[in-house]
């Protein structure tokens, strides 16, 4: 029996307005190449970097949320390597005194331990063409957090789930968009396979995975590959691998420099910066409710476990849901049901995000309240949803179209008598205790009310009139 041991390195692009060490705008999306550059991020001689306070604050937010230990001072190191997209030939990073050490992220019933998180700068982008390489340094020097886990993950699905959790966390903290498709969340994975109970096997690193799905697929392939090698009685070679989306296979990449070759040393251009404890306290106080705290609050409101989890870890929905809750119009579980089943289904069908519709938390809560209060049937509520999604007022729609539930027992009783008279055989069956026949009668009454009666009420009235129950 073999098992995998997985650790992750996650790079998160920070949502600062400017780069990590200079005033160039960090929002270079769609800009002409090399228009967001200056002497500092181009690495011109004599230019001096100055750390961005916001980037440090964002790092502190994440470190505090994860319960990491934060040092009293901020120290940067140079990590030296040669690649043309790194204009200074070194990356300003952190080494032995990272912004956060330790901490953990809850994952189901367990917690994945965090080894460290540190601030660093990103490199530029290379464009490899025939006989030459072109460089766009707009991204060079923008602010990143690198977060490294302990090897606490066991399956590819867990690795994917962890990344989704980190994404939800940093979005909730407002420090990163963490969108893999824009390159704002990139992951490297470390994976080894061993026989259960034996010491750790040789690990292989898979680099530059740019979607949650690739992380899962690359791990699935690599775990199969390593397991087969071990089954044959051979040894896994330590390697750095890439992942090819098309074939779903990993392949060996250039061997990485060893750590000593990076020649880490304290960045002489950046003297240490004090991190006063009162600043930490201020940042701690400004933290929003964290996803796992949200989940616990939803559970306490009586929301089902799975629903509470999905809502808490989908920040845009949690925000919407909290506002709908605040109206106090409908019960938490009813709101959750309608949001996660009906609204989600409709959005999915139309390929829309919640924020791309005109659905307001109030409009949504009013619609759910109309149903929950018995004023419209679930069928009518579902029918109205597309229009409510376009910003229409559910109550106005119900009034204008006479869609309100027929709750007038007198009116319903007349219809019930009519249907019994029209369907004597079904009525007789029900009298004899064959309750199956009741459905046909209920259906007929519902048709006569154009679906506006409450089926449970119709049922009760039919049974009463037929002298059953």
């Amino acid at each position: 029996m073999y098992e995998a041991v997985i650790g992750l390195e996650v790079h998160l692009h920070l949502k600062t307005r400017t780069k990590a060490f200079c005033g160039c705008q960090a929002d270079y999306f769609g800009a002409e190449p090399n228009t967001h550059v200056c002497p500092v991020c181009l690495g011109l001689p004599g230019a001096l970097p100055v750390p961005n306070r916001k980037a440090v604050e964002f790092g502190l937010r994440l470190a505090l949320a994860l319960g990491s230990e934060i040092p009293p001072r901020l120290v940067f190191h140079r990590k030296n390597y040669f690649y043309p997209d790194l204009p200074k030939n070194y990356q300003i990073s952190q080494y032995d005194l990272p912004l956060g050490q330790g901490g953990s992220l809850p994952l189901g019933k367990r917690a994945v331990r965090i080894k460290r998180l540190h601030l660093e700068e990103d490199a530029g982008k290379s464009l490899h063409l025939e006989g030459r390489t072109l460089l766009d340094l707009n991204r060079a020097g923008s602010s990143l957090i690198e977060l490294v886990t302990e090897p606490d993950l066991k399956t590819p699905e867990e690795a994917r789930l962890f990344l989704q959790r980190i994404q939800a966390l940093v979005q909730t903290l407002g420090i990163s968009d963490a969108s893999p498709e824009e390159g704002k969340l990139r992951a490297d994975v470390n994976v080894s396979v061993r026989r259960v109970g034996e010491p750790l096997g040789t690990k292989v690193e898979i680099k530059n995975l740019n979607s949650f799905k690739s992380v899962q697929r690359a791990l699935e392939y690599e775990i199969r590959r390593q397991t087969e090698i071990l089954r044959r009685g051979e040894k896994v070679k330590q390697a750095t691998m890439g992942f090819e989306e098309g074939s779903g296979k990993t392949y060996p990449m250039r061997t990485k420099e060893e750590e000593a070759d990076y020649r880490y040393f304290p960045e002489p251009d950046l003297p240490p910066v004090a991190i006063p404890r009162d600043w930490l306290e201020e940042v701690r106080r400004s933290l929003p409710e964290l996803p796992w705290e949200k989940e616990a609050r939803y559970r306490a409101l009586g929301i089902k476990e799975k629903d509470a989890e999905v809502l808490a870890y989908t920040p845009a929905w949690a925000r919407f849901f909290d506002q709908a809750l605040k109206t106090g119009l409908a019960s938490p579980q009813a709101l959750a049901n309608w949001l996660l089943a009906d609204v989600a289904g409709l959005l999915n069908e139309r390929g829309l995000e919640l924020t791309q519709t005109h659905l307001t938390p109030e409009g949504f809560a009013r619609l759910v309240a109309l149903f929950e209060g018995g004023r419209i049937t679930s069928r009518v509520a579902k029918e109205l949803l597309p229009e409510v999604l376009e910003g229409q007022d559910p109550e106005a729609l119900v009034r204008a179209r006479g869609l309100g539930v027929v709750a007038d027992e007198g009116a319903l009783k007349a219809l019930v008598a009519e249907v019994i008279a029209a369907m004597p055989e079904a009525a007789e069956s029900v009298r004899q205790g064959k309750l199956k026949a009741l459905d046909a009668l209920v259906g007929q009454v519902m048709r006569k009310t154009r679906g506006q009666a409450r089926p449970d009420l119709v049922r009760r009235l039919l049974l009463e009139t037929l002298g059953v129950g």
Binding site: L42, H128, L129, L134, D136, P271, V273
Partner: protein, 89 residues
């Protein structure tokens, strides 16, 4: 620290430079002298050296260089990009 010719050659590889044997001999001497100089530092009596503290910058955008100016400093450019020898074979 002992500076061997092997270590010097490794440094050459890392620094992506190629030295002639004459240059290697010269550099080996120079580097040894530099290392000796640095080795002297720990023997200095520790005075009350004051630790330098850095500062942080507010997250306010400053103007970047115009593209032409940024590229003017490069040996080669193409279509707004810096151009360098091919990285991938």
């Amino acid at each position: 620290m002992e500076l061997s010719p092997e270590l010097l050659r490794k440094l050459e590889t890392l620094a992506k430079i190629r030295l002639s044997p004459e240059e290697e001999a010269l550099l080996l001497q120079d580097l040894k002298r530099i290392l000796d100089f640095v080795d002297a530092l720990p023997r200095v009596e520790g005075g009350e050296a004051e630790e330098a503290w850095g500062r942080l910058r507010e997250d306010e955008p400053r103007p970047s260089l115009p593209q032409e100016e940024a590229l003017a400093l490069a040996p080669e450019a193409e279509d707004g990009f810096f151009r360098v020898p091919p990285v991938l074979e």
